[in-house]
Amino acid sequence: MNDEKQCPQCGANLPSETPEGLCPACLLQRGMETQTAGTGGTPEIPSPTPEALAGYFPQLEIVDLLGRGGMGAVYKARHKGLDRWVALKILPAAQRNPAFAERFSREARALARLDHPNIVAVHDSGEVNGLFYFIMEYVDGANLRQVLAAGGIAPAQALAIVPQICDALQYAHNQGIVHRDIKPENILIDKAGRVKIADFGIAKIVGREARDFTLTRAEDVMGTPAYMAPEQVERPNEVDHRADIYSLGVVFYQMLTGELPLGRFAPPSRKVRVDVRLDEVVLRALEKEPERRYQQAGEVKTEVETIAGTRQAGEGKAPSDASTTEAPRPDSQQPWRRRIWPPLVGQRNGQRVIHWLAVAMCGLRGLLVLLILCIAFNGVMIDSNERFLSAWAYFEVGVLLLSLFLVIRLLQGWALPLAQLASLDKCASGRSITWVLSIVMICAVLAALTRLFFLAPYRVPTDAALPEIPRGSQLLVFKLGRKFVPGDFVAYRQGREVRVARVAQAPAHGMLQIARHNEPLQEILVSSVIGKVILNTRPERLATPANTAQTETAAHAGAISDHIINEIQPDAPASTAPKPSPVPAAPSGDMKTRAVAFVDLLAKGDFAKARAEFDATMSSAMSEPMLGNVWAQLGAGGGKYLGHGSPRQEIFQEYIITYVPCRWERMQVDLKIVYNRAGKVSGLWVVPAGSSIFAPSPTPTPQPEQK
């Protein structure tokens, strides 16, 4: 059949053989339809005249018959008491049975609950002398059928009407009420342009009566078939709210094109100049299977409003103008959401498939967020007694959560019905933004990998461990550096903490000997070492002779003393064993007082005055920051200076060595102050409490004395 003609009425393709040259679909429809008011001639079923009704409704002044339809007759009336116009609807005379009455009152109550600006409100309902009636809001305007007959409406107006219908439908559906008879006659538009839907649920009240009518007086009370959803036709008992959405689609199509969507109908954009994106909306609403339609009227509203809001200036686009539309199908959700969270599960050929690319994208995006957080966290605390998770641990937890999130989303997507998956798939997400994000994330992943396996930044907040790495310096640890030479600094894990230390001896048997400030030499597992410190950001390197001396792993308290002796008295024989010698001239008591005063100065932070105490020869070595540093070293225990005890003194040659025990919250140390013959401070150390130059330190292993 190449030369298909189309019915001018309904647009369906006409078969080659037509009864009397007329369209069979229209003929059948005519066989079902009742007459609407105004087509002339005597009505088939007499409806009460206004005068006859007046007796039944004393509170109303019934003015005029507005119209008649399958759902009964509607009259315009004036409520005398309230002095307002109302609409009185009389339902077609039904057999008097209690079942009908009961159903009527139940539905009427349900309808009364509908309180929405786009739904004709029900004021009253009941039965009087066998007549079932509703008293409803009077809408001063016309119904959509009349508007269409008068000459149609512009697409812009249609786009303004449909959202209001959707609002009403969504509201009613939320209340569990389905209209079942959405058609232009039931859509009223008042003079202000507001849409009101009438006859909600009335189809359900009178529906079952259809079969009880005899042949010659049969009325169609099940709705106009052209607007009925297929499931309403085939399985009237299984109808749910989605049938209304189908009817809405039919009405929408009719508003746009002026024709009914029958048979193989053309999309609206190919019949009139409307936005191409509306095709998708209308077609989806008109899907034969309820699952493939929009599931909520609110979705339709969102779509239409999006399209209406982004229309080009003017009346819409030419049907074939595709350049102005970004994608042939609108997104069923807001576009930005689709790009950031694409669906993970789709469907192909009726089978559910996982979009692995989308999963990868999601995963990478999550990683990006995690990495930003971790890197922003700026490394890890070392040597803190507080329990901080390392950035690595944070990262691990984050990856776990991300995987969990992905799995949940996958399951969610899997659970969706296939039809919904198909419609989600149709959307074309913004490719460019996706790819930009992806590239950024790939870089982020690489950075993460770098951090994980090659370099790791750490920050040393509490220092105390090593003077070369003072507090607050930032380190870069090279994780692949596995060759440890004494003097190197390493970062290692101990328990849940990360610490930094100096290598004392080359590793042997899987163990590495390390030294930390004020701690005995330790042995740690080589496997617990994170890596070598290759960079220290603190610009102030303490490269002084005193410091240089400190980097030597002096194992003996005496070695330092030797050094002092050699410097001060070069001609004195170097001896490894200190020998007691006579007391110098300065009185010991005075020295002690001064030592205490010196310590107090340091504690107050008055480094200028403290510095003044130093001997001129040594002053260059003892700078203020160094004093501060020494004092800071004492803070390694995490505590505060709480005061001091009474000083001890030891005399060695011409030096008076005063030990001022300092009390800290967690540590007890001696501040060893060496006074020279002139009475000036010539040396300052922090030593373990109870140290003595004449004996090994109280701790079992000899300790390096450091500044």
């Binding site: 059949m1 030369d3 003609k5 019915c7 009425q9 369906a12 006409l14 078969p15 080659s16 053989e17 037509t18 009864p19 009397e20 040259g21 007329l22 369209c23 069979p24 679909a25 229209c26 003929l27 059948l28 429809q29 005519r30 066989g31 079902m32 007459q35 087509t39 002339g40 001639g41 005597t42 088939e44 259809a210 079969r211 009880d212 009518f213 005899t214 042949l215 010659t216 049969a218 169609d220 099940m222 078939p225 297929p230 036709v233 085939e234 029958l262 048979g263």
Partner: protein, 248 residues
């Protein structure tokens, strides 16, 4: 071009069908010759197109389809219980389709029946113009069931409209019918009604009334015809709906 015509085959006279239901007719047929048998024969005569369409959609060519349709009706009228199909209730349409399917499933039996049966062919295929038979071409992507339904609907409408035309002719108002039949499906623009009024020499108001009466009578006729093919009057509505759905 749509064929504006009346069916070549004679339609059953209204009087015969006004009160009989197909179940009764079918039951009567089995008991040999008589009114029932003739009635059934006429019923079948009217409804051969959908069966023919179904057989064609199943892939048989025209001569084969003709033979099979003949054979099917023969068997139907002989009252050879067509298997498990229960004619007691339901629609004639469904019954015919089920029977036909059953019939085609046992096609090899048909060959025997044709040789056995003989006698006068029930359906005068020769009287039907070839174009009409050729028009029922399986070109659409319809299922055979859908094709059957569609053809059934078309046949039904044909029949109803013929009856309507006959009534008007008997009343001497055939020109009126011709002029107004276009209004059966819709109102059309107002000018056309004025034109019609002018062409047949009636006032516009009279035309409106006449159109209304025509539609009303058409509905009655259509529903009566459908009532012949369904079990209870209440099923008329459903049948109409289903037939309408065949065109979607």
């Amino acid at each position: 071009m749509p064929l504006s015509h009346s069916t070549a085959s004679p339609s059953p006279t209204p009087s015969l069908f006004a009160a009989t239901r197909w179940t009764v007719v079918l039951a009567a047929a089995g008991h040999g010759q008589g009114t029932g048998s003739r009635a059934l024969a006429e019923l079948c005569q009217s409804y051969w197109p959908p069966l023919f369409a179904y057989i064609r959609w199943r892939g048989y060519d025209i001569p084969q389809a003709e033979d099979l349709t003949q054979a099917f009706f023969e068997q139907l009228l002989q009252g050879n219980g067509l298997g498990s199909v229960n004619p007691a209730k339901g629609k004639f349409r469904s019954f015919l389709l089920a029977s036909l399917k059953h019939f085609l499933a046992n096609e090899w039996d048909r060959a025997q029946a044709l040789k056995r049966g003989g006698g006068i062919p029930l359906i005068a295929f020769d009287a039907i113009p070839l174009e009409k038979r050729q028009r029922i071409e399986p070109t659409d992507d319809l299922s055979p069931d859908k094709a059957f339904e569609r053809q059934w609907a078309l046949t039904l409408l044909d029949q109803a409209l013929s009856r309507l035309r006959r009534e008007y002719t008997l009343a001497g108002k055939e020109p009126l019918f011709e002029a107004l039949k276009g209004c059966l499906t819709g109102d059309g623009p107002a000018e056309s009604q004025a034109q019609i009024a002018a062409s047949i020499g009636m006032s516009e108001g009279a035309v409106k009334v006449a159109v209304h009466r025509l539609r009303k009578r058409y509905r009655e006729v259509l529903r009566e015809d459908i009532a012949q093919t369904v079990g209870t009057p209440g099923e008329v509505e459903e049948e109409l709906r289903q037939l309408f759905a065949a065109f979607r």
